[in-house]
Symmetry: C2
Subunit: 444 residues, 2 copies
């Protein structure tokens, strides 16, 4: 790969377009994508236009959205080439591309599509943003259950050319309602004279076009399929969803959860490419919100002003104690958020987990109390009891808050990952300050 890269960099530098055209069309789309993405501005678009039709289609789908836009823009004057490219891209990838364009541009581009392709795209664009309808491609092969295997293959040879996958074949009745799906393996292994319906068990797993894409992730994980059919509410087959689109969705979902847990408002696609201003906007929202949560810790502390002035050493342990509560809370929130996302734990399970968390956090609290008591014995022996007892209570409170908050958010139809580490830290801080200084003024 390194050699190829250097080779192409050389050719691009020398502007040897003739040789580039030959060699570029001889490597695979993933490599081409890397070369185009790395090429200097201006050259990248020219490189793309050297590709033959098949490679152009395959490469386009792999390019970043920005690069895709650049290419389309550069082709705007060459109407014929542009419409060939747009018509060649798979409908689901095309929808994904149009999706991110400003409305007016996508409307203009849709006009370059053939009437047939246009219908498909517009239909796909009609589904809610995170619905399965947006992911599906209508490029599948359906056969009649009354055909023989041989006839089915003849049909597949004619209609299968445009199909995104032939790994699974769909069986539909006269109203195009899905009757069954069957793996190509079974058709190949069966006797050619047998009827298709003899192979069917009339059991299939299907998705609803209006359902959320997360449902699809779950279905692909439960049932090891390469593709799943998508139906409307009447059971009519509208399209299929393939596993590669689902893998992308799954990756986006976990990035989103991860980013939310770190208190980022909206998932940031690629920190290398994102603009500084966009990143600022996505980060400042939560940071400011947390400042206002933290005002309460300050208020709590100020009400203990005279106590602090008398025993200043209490302040030494303040960061340690409140952080420990936040840390224990982050741990339990982490566990719950991920378990809820994967489906290991349901909202209705919260009460089963509370008892266990009580025991665990008690054990954690006792251990940590012993630790902090050991430290205090060197530095401030007069407050050993205060810090140890506070530690135990603070760790337990933090843990239980961390456990419950993700459930609470889910209950109110918010993403459980909104219970971010920083949010839990801030809430645990308030509790920590109150517990610590209350115990201190009670004991001392």
């Amino acid at each position: 790969m390194v050699d190829i890269k250097t080779r192409f960099e050389q050719l691009i530098e020398n502007k040897d377009w003739k040789e580039l055209k030959v060699e570029l069309n001889d490597i695979d789309p993933v490599q081409i994508t890397e070369i185009i993405e790395d090429a200097p501005d201006g050259d990248d678009v020219l490189l793309f236009r050297l590709l033959n039709r098949k490679l152009a289609k395959e490469t386009f789908q792999l390019l970043s959205h920005d690069m895709q836009e650049e290419i389309i823009e550069s082709m705007a004057r060459n109407v014929k080439k542009l419409s060939t490219l747009l018509n060649d891209i798979e409908p689901d990838d095309r929808t994904a591309f149009f999706e991110e364009l400003p409305g007016t541009i996508s409307q203009r581009l849709i006009q370059f599509l053939s009437p047939e392709e246009r219908n498909t795209t517009i239909r796909l664009l009609g589904y809610p943003e995170d619905s399965i309808g947006r992911l599906m491609t209508p490029e599948y092969v359906a056969v009649n259950p009354e055909h023989t295997i041989e006839e089915a293959f003849a049909h597949i040879r004619v209609y299968g050319k445009d199909s995104e996958t032939l790994n699974v074949v769909y069986i539909v009745d006269k109203e195009w309602k899905l009757v069954d799906d069957i793996r190509i393996k079974e058709l190949i292994l069966a006797d050619p004279q047998q009827k298709v319906q003899d192979l069917l068990d009339y059991r299939f797993v299907a998705l609803n076009a209006m359902d959320d894409q997360e449902t699809a992730i779950g279905a692909f994980q439960d049932y090891d399929r390469v593709a799943l059919p998508v139906l409307n509410s009447e059971g009519v087959l509208l399209g299929i969803v393939t596993f590669d689109d689902i893998m992308d969705v799954a990756e986006e979902e976990s990035t989103e959860d991860f980013h939310k847990f770190g208190s980022i408002q909206q998932s940031i696609a690629n920190p290398l490419k994102e603009r500084a201003w966009g990143m600022y906007k996505n980060r400042i929202v939560w940071l400011l919100a947390l400042v206002f949560v933290n005002i309460f810790s300050g208020a709590a502390i100020s009400s203990f002003e005279s106590l602090i002035q008398t025993v200043v050493s209490l302040v030494f342990f303040l960061p340690l104690l409140i952080d420990s509560g936040g840390n224990a809370g982050s741990q339990s929130a982490t566990l719950m958020i991920r378990a809820l996302a994967i489906g290991d734990v349901k909202v209705s399970d919260w009460y089963k987990l509370i008892g266990k968390e009580f025991i665990i956090s008690f054990l954690l609290g006792v251990t940590m109390a012993a630790g902090v008591a050991a430290i205090a014995s060197f530095r401030a022996p007069e407050i050993i009891l205060v810090v140890a007892l506070s530690m135990l209570l603070i760790v337990m409170t933090g843990s239980l808050i961390g456990l419950l908050l993700p459930f609470l958010f889910t209950k109110f139809r918010l993403d459980p990952a909104t219970a971010s580490a920083p949010l839990i830290t801030s809430i645990a801080d308030i509790c920590g300050v109150l517990i610590y200084f209350s115990i201190a003024s009670w004991i001392m």
Copy 2:
């Protein structure tokens, strides 16, 4: 599904084994799995044994590891049934199951396998724990490039029965070195009299059996394939890896990252099922380690004892200021950890991100300084300048630490997610305390 569940609960309660046998064999493995997992102890194993051979095999692979062990244990006396089941499971699922058993038990179980299956399993068990070799199944179909398509199909009909997938067919030379892979779609659509080699482009993507499983996740994301071939260092085809196994690995990886980021030592499989003691052990390690990091914040504060006694109001803003640094740091760490995990950012990119983070964190710091100044103007106007200036510097320091730590960990071959939110909070605390009180003693 709810109806089915209630129905079966009824049948199980009535111990109507005869009817259960009929109805259980009539639903699909995913439903059966749910029913078995939900059934009372003892009944679950009996239910499993009511299944016919095909369903037993399919269901076994979907059950939790604990349930799998229970079933194998219960079958220990019925040698014939046990060995049928073990031989029926797909080799890669079997390896995954054996993997988690204590060594002596898996050795005993391997003896129940047929000589052929035993070889496969032992071979699969020879690869390093997180290697692709552990994921692969040897159940693929390979054809000779000199065959015609018709001959190839005849071959596939004979040898394809045991193949995990027929979606892709592999072309090997006489030494079983991989020459190309071809989608079944292309074979079906081609002229039966054509030779297989006429269809080949001799370009393929393959994995190395000794490589890390993360490599495979990347490859599946880059190339939209259903399965990828696995080769040894000589290019000989050893087996294939299918996308469903990769989806599981990808899910585990992101759970691990998520858990690490929340300061959990080792990923916890399912918080509902995990024992309290195991969860305690996985959580206490980091909590205690962080206590010792936090000692430094305490030490830093104690060196400013007289300042604090003079201006107690400084303490009110302590949690707010140090938390803000930690929060900004968690945000940048979140972005970097995920971007490194997905591959959007490479270790060598760190210097490209520093400049941008400097700008972003400056903007964040200025906004937050304005916020905290507004709060201080109500509560402690005498320290407005101190808190505002501290906030700016603390937010910037926290952000840069959060950005750099994941790179540093990767550099030292540690998981970037070790730069957990709590760790960053604690480190940011120390910096925060020092910045805050230094500025305070300098200004006042």
